[in-house]
């Protein structure tokens, strides 16, 4: 198509410039609300630029107009609601509601982990030699009774001067685990399932080892204070991963895969943030409380602390933000 290009540019340019100016303004002020006449004006300019785009030949001018139209298109055809992030509302309503909305995914994550626990315990019962394979941490290789005796002796003094650092390491490591479990949802859930099960296997093996060694009380005192927050947090990461996987697979769904992922993305972000916040708390508890054993802090106190935490967490996730 040959057209009188210079005249075309000359007549149309003022409109392009006007559109460019309103777009620049909108992009800097995303929260701004336009009046009806402003919206109409923007729409007219957008349609004019679109029409111009359809007429120009390939080349620089076309690229420029494509860029202009694509920006205007984004502003005009955007229908998603924009909400401001309100931390208090997020804590009291959004997170627990999102958690309940995907309750089934959480259940599945929990079942997988429990299955792992059973497998780990069983494996160690059948083949005690498997301990070195299953448990990757050197601290857990020895016999539980020895460890308990040692812990009693050193009274948590080994933690002096490194508590905060240890706590920070725990937070970052656990957050990484939770977020990896989440991200592996993109493997159609396969990676998430494997990781959840594997976490369960370690947990089950350790638990069996201590219970079998007659150190059940020590184990509970050691694990409960941070575990009742940390394990659910990892499960929430797995829950989010399974939500992604479900959206990817989309059984019986009529909307496109991209659309399904778009729908769940906000919930995934909410769950990820929730897991991270829980892990910060768990990291503090693990470093400042869990590493102290009898006689410094009685097992009873630690277990009670864990039970109270578990009760609070459960009621928070179950009831916070429910509509009356």
């Amino acid at each position: 198509m040959i057209l009188d290009i210079s005249r075309f540019v000359e007549t149309e340019r003022p409109h392009w410039t006007a559109l460019e100016r309103s777009l620049a303004w909108l992009e800097v002020n995303p929260q701004a609300r336009l009046t009806l006449s402003e919206v109409e004006n923007l729409h007219v300019l957008y349609q004019r630029a679109s029409a111009d785009l359809a007429r120009v030949p390939e080349g620089e001018l076309k690229k420029y107009l494509e860029w202009l139209v694509s920006r205007a298109y984004a502003e005009i055809h955007e229908a998603r609601e924009r909400k401001r992030f309100r931390p208090w509302r997020w804590v009291t309503e959004e997170y627990p509601r999102t958690f309940r909305k995907h309750w089934k995914a959480f259940q599945l994550a929990a079942v997988l982990t429990i299955g792992g626990v059973a497998f780990g315990a069983l494996a160690l019962r059948i083949d005690p030699e498997a301990k070195s394979v299953i448990m990757p941490f050197e601290a857990l290789q020895g016999s539980p009774a020895d460890r308990v005796a040692k812990e009693r002796e050193r009274k948590g003094q080994h933690m002096e001067g490194v508590k905060s650092t240890f706590s920070a390491e725990l937070m970052t490591h656990n957050t990484q685990v939770a977020l990896t479990t989440l991200a592996l949802g993109m493997t159609f859930g396969f990676g998430t399932i494997v990781l959840l099960f594997y976490n369960g296997v370690i947990l089950g093996a350790v638990a069996y080892d201590y219970v079998h060694g007659g150190q059940a009380v020590f184990l509970m005192g050691w694990l409960l204070p941070h575990g009742v927050i940390e394990i659910p947090a990892i499960l929430v990461g797995g829950q989010a991963g399974l939500v992604i996987a479900y959206a990817l697979i989309g059984w019986g769904s009529r909307v496109s895969r991209a659309e399904r992922l778009r729908i769940v993305s906000k919930d995934v972000v909410t769950l990820a943030l929730g897991a991270a916040v829980m892990l910060v708390w768990a990291g503090i508890v693990e470093s400042f409380l869990s590493q102290y054993h009898e006689p410094v802090i009685s097992y009873g106190t630690k277990i009670a602390f864990g039970v109270v935490e578990a009760a609070l967490l459960t009621s928070y996730l179950a009831f916070a933000g429910r509509k009356a």
Partner: protein, 266 residues
């Protein structure tokens, strides 16, 4: 695998966004790692006085801030700069919504959370393979978030004044030769000449001389003008005159461009 993302608007207009390849994205990512490390070391200096509360406490703060920066920098930058980080800015890349809409904060966070799987097992192998295999060059994070990375370097408006010469056009004066020129020049050739004029400032001086020399020779070969008309005209001016003859409506005289809206097209 297409090299551009085509979006068709409800108005029936199609526009294309050029997609970025894995290599430029890798380079941008390397730059961003450098930025994270820099911010981290600056934070370490800033947080130095915390050593007052003991080494343990300051170490803890350092670990947590570094982790938070490495996790949040990309998402924060992409959100605040509308899909760009420092690395992406340098490389002229931009993250956009795959449907052409505005980028949502949740999309930015999701695509960055997925780095945990795209980065597996090492050196972004998963992400790189996904990027090569997917239709719109998306890594898993892009697929999950519904985003694409485009090349956005050509965002400046072309210098349209290049076209509006307004100078005396000796070629248009001789009507019958101008008509023959319109008849003989193929539309593609005219478009190439127009494009060359639009981009003339981007060329190296020698390349520019050579290109317009070739073009002028080609046009001169098609329609022979009397020597006195062309002798004082440079090659580039010659091509410009040809383009003006080709693209300007016949009924109009040079220098008498009207300003009224709704210009007709021929």
């Amino acid at each position: 695998m297409s090299e551009s993302l085509k979006i068709r608007t409800p108005e029936g207009i199609e526009f294309a966004l050029p997609l970025a390849g894995p290599v430029s994205r890798m380079v941008a990512f390397a730059v961003d790692i450098g930025v994270v490390v820099t911010i981290g070391s600056v934070m370490q200096k800033v947080l130095g006085p915390l050593g007052f509360f003991g080494k343990d406490f300051s170490d803890a703060i350092r670990i947590v801030t570094y982790f938070a920066i490495s996790l949040a920098y990309m998402a924060l930058a992409e959100w605040l700069w509308r899909g760009q980080t420092v690395g992406k800015r340098l490389l002229g890349l931009r993250v956009v919504d795959a449907g052409g809409f505005r980028l949502e904060p949740s999309q930015v966070i999701v695509r960055n959370l997925m780095r945990f799987v795209d980065g597996l097992p090492a050196l972004y192998l998963v992400g790189g393979i996904a990027c090569l295999a997917s239709r719109h060059r998306q890594r898993l994070g892009d697929l999950a978030a519904g985003t694409v990375v485009i090349r956005a370097s050509k965002l400046a408006r072309p210098d349209l004044d290049q076209l509006l010469g307004g100078k005396y056009n000796s070629l248009a004066e001789i009507r019958h030769l101008a008509a023959r020129l319109r008849q003989k020049v193929r539309p593609e050739m005219g478009a190439i000449a127009l494009e060359a004029l639009l981009r003339r400032d981007e060329m190296e001086p020698e390349a520019r001389l050579e290109l317009f020399g070739d073009m002028a020779r080609y046009f001169k070969g098609l329609v022979e003008y009397p020597a006195e008309v062309v002798e004082q005209v440079s090659d580039e001016q010659y091509v410009r005159n040809v383009v003006e003859v080709l693209f300007r409506s016949q009924s109009e005289k040079a220098g008498a461009r009207s300003q009224e809206p709704g210009a007709r097209m021929r």
